[in-house]
């Protein structure tokens, strides 16, 4: 990696603002790096040349990899689905506009699970992304292209979306930082909808400082998204210890959640580290969190089945011709959607159908209330809740594709925060050997905070990051 590519985003933007580094030279170095993508991380990369606005901005001259779920004017936007092949949106998502307004440029659009439905990136219509640590393994999902690009040095930073763990889990499996902000922190305008009450945009970066920097640019109320409220100022983190802070570990963790021994070791070592830094660790009852997967896999598919009704071959995207309109809808959707998307549409449609609505959707929304109440109660005595981000390290390509439920259980630790709408970050905490043996792989540590407490969350994550000193890099 050249010296330029070794800079953090904060360092590079600082040098560009001071005039010590040319934005054109820095951008060119990253375009060359992105052109060397052998992981299938990108679906589209910029030719270059165009200068961004905001040369004095917080992200002056910084190239950013953007998950292909964000609409970008005139640039192909597919959500990794055949049904949007060739689609060029007439407008750009607010999140992307805020980044470019601060001086960033779009480096490329990254691969993902189709419509963000998946935990391995194997549901992309354009082929899976490979994990840079071991190309026989998945990068996680659904923001797998964004995570792999940052981990492999194909982008200095990226944005993704997280509905039930889609930023945090791939960040964990690729050994980088991933932050899901409070629901409402970042505008969803122009972000292709999966499950609207859960979807949230956030950064994937090499370190916590860069995550804070990006979040500070992304957040804000947007008249185009009535559910957006913003955060106000996001402080750049600088805390060096954890004195006076209390960390809750959900009681019963490790009992029925399928944690791999290597992941558990790294998690426990990180808890000891918190105590060394002056933090207090104790267990807390989060009784309903284990029901998160059940609630999530009703609510998210239900919302998806409604959101994806718009892909009907009429206004944009592909159409399969048929003599009659209903036939045209059915043929188009049959050809345009992949297997997992169809499965979730079916699941969601079933859960919302007459006679089943209260038993599934209604109950799931009540479980959601209980999960949020459990967190609120925990936060009365604690500053943060911590868990492993994922029960496993990166698993093999094809290992879980035949078993949808096994795939869904990857989200065990990340889904409860999504349902409660609270912010959570995954930071790399160490390496662990996979269950079948082999080279050691990254393990993420998840920290969750009360809604709108991103600055405190980033500060704690920073102190822990400095102490862990995670320096491992994927092999070439």
């Amino acid at each position: 990696m050249s010296e330029l590519l070794g800079l953090t985003v904060a360092e590079a933007a600082g040098r560009i603002r001071e005039g010590a580094l040319s934005a054109a030279e820095y951008g060119q170095a990253w375009r060359e790096a992105a052109a060397g993508d052998r992981l299938n991380a990108y679906l589209w990369t910029a030719e270059g040349g165009e200068e961004g606005n905001g040369a004095d901005g917080a992200l002056a001259g910084v190239p950013i990899a953007v998950k292909d779920i964000f609409c970008t004017e005139g640039v192909p936007t597919t959500a990794a689905s055949r049904i949007l092949e060739g689609y060029r949106p007439p407008y750009t998502a607010t999140a992307v506009r805020r980044l470019t307004g601060a001086g960033a440029r779009v480096l490329g659009k990254t691969n993902m699970d189709e419509f963000a439905m998946g935990s391995s990136n194997e549901n992309s219509a354009y082929g899976p992304v490979l994990n840079p640590w071991d190309t026989a393994r998945v990068p996680g999902g659904s923001s797998g292209g964004s995570a792999a690009a940052v981990a492999a040095g194909l982008a200095p930073c990226a944005i993704g979306t997280d509905t039930g763990g889609s930023i945090r889990q791939p960040a964990s499996l690729c050994g980088i930082v991933g932050l899901k902000p409070t629901y409402g922190a970042v505008s969803r305008y122009g972000m292709i909808a999966f499950a609207s009450s859960l979807d949230q945009c956030g950064p994937l970066t090499r370190d916590v400082t860069d995550a804070a920097l990006l979040l500070g640019v992304l957040e804000g109320r947007d008249p185009c998204d009535s559910t957006s409220v913003g955060l106000g100022e996001v402080r750049l983190p600088g805390r060096e210890d954890l004195r006076g802070l209390r960390f809750a570990v959900p009681s019963g963790i490790g009992e029925e959640d399928g944690i791999e021994p290597g992941v558990r070791d790294v998690f426990e070592a990180t808890l000891r580290r918190i105590e060394e830094l002056g933090g207090e660790v104790d267990s807390a009852e989060l009784t309903h969190a284990p029901h998160g997967i059940s609630a999530y896999y009703v609510i998210a598919p239900a919302e998806a089945s409604s959101n994806l009704a718009r892909y009907d071959g009429v206004r944009y995207g592909m159409r399969v011709e048929a003599p009659e309109v209903i036939e045209m809808y059915e043929a188009t959707r049959a050809a345009g959607f992949g297997a997992e998307v169809k499965r979730r549409i079916m699941l969601g449609t079933y859960a919302l159908s007459s006679g089943y609505y209260e038993a599934y959707y209604g109950r799931a929304q009540r479980v959601r209330t209980k999960i949020a109440e459990d967190f609120a109660a925990a936060f009365e005595g604690f500053d943060f809740v911590v868990t492993p981000t994922s029960p496993s390290v990166a698993f093999g390509l094809g290992e879980k594709t035949g078993d949808p439920l096994a795939m869904y259980l990857n989200d065990y630790f990340t889904v409860p925060m999504s349902l409660a709408g609270i912010p959570a970050i995954s930071i790399p905490a160490g390496l662990a050997e996979p269950p079948g043996g082999g080279a050691r792989l990254p393990v993420g540590f998840q920290i969750a905070a009360p809604a709108f407490h991103e600055s405190e969350l980033l500060d704690a994550a920073y102190a822990l990051e400095q102490s862990i000193g995670f320096e491992a890099k994927p092999p070439a």
């Binding site: 309903h288 059940s294 206004r315 944009y316 036939e327 045209m328 959707r333 449609t349 209980k370 809604a451």
Partner: protein
């Protein structure tokens, strides 16, 4: 257990055409997933309010002022088929 008839009924509601193999597979997969989901049936939730939205927001309104909308031609550019400044679809007649 989601049987073949239910799968076909839901597929019709969702406007998805499923192949014969898909129907079989979907029946098994949906049954497995719903069996897991059914664990929430054991919880006592009678007194619990459902969460529709996690952020406390009410009536987010903007001033009701006229403003330009997207140009029609631009909105039609991505459509598979258009006619006379409108989206064109096949005949709805065949469905009785």
């Amino acid at each position: 257990m989601i049987d073949r008839e239910q799968v076909l009924h839901v597929a019709r509601l969702a406007r998805l055409r499923l192949g014969e193999e898909d129907v079989e597979r979907m029946s098994g997969e949906l049954s497995t997933i719903l069996e897991h989901v059914d664990r929430i049936a054991e919880l006592d939730l009678d007194e619990v309010e459902p969460t529709d939205h996690v952020v406390d927001l009410e009536n987010v309104l903007r001033p009701d002022e006229p403003r330009p909308s997207w140009p029609r031609e631009q909105m039609l550019e991505q459509a598979p088929d258009t006619a006379e400044s409108a989206f064109r679809v096949p005949s709805p007649q065949a469905e009785a």
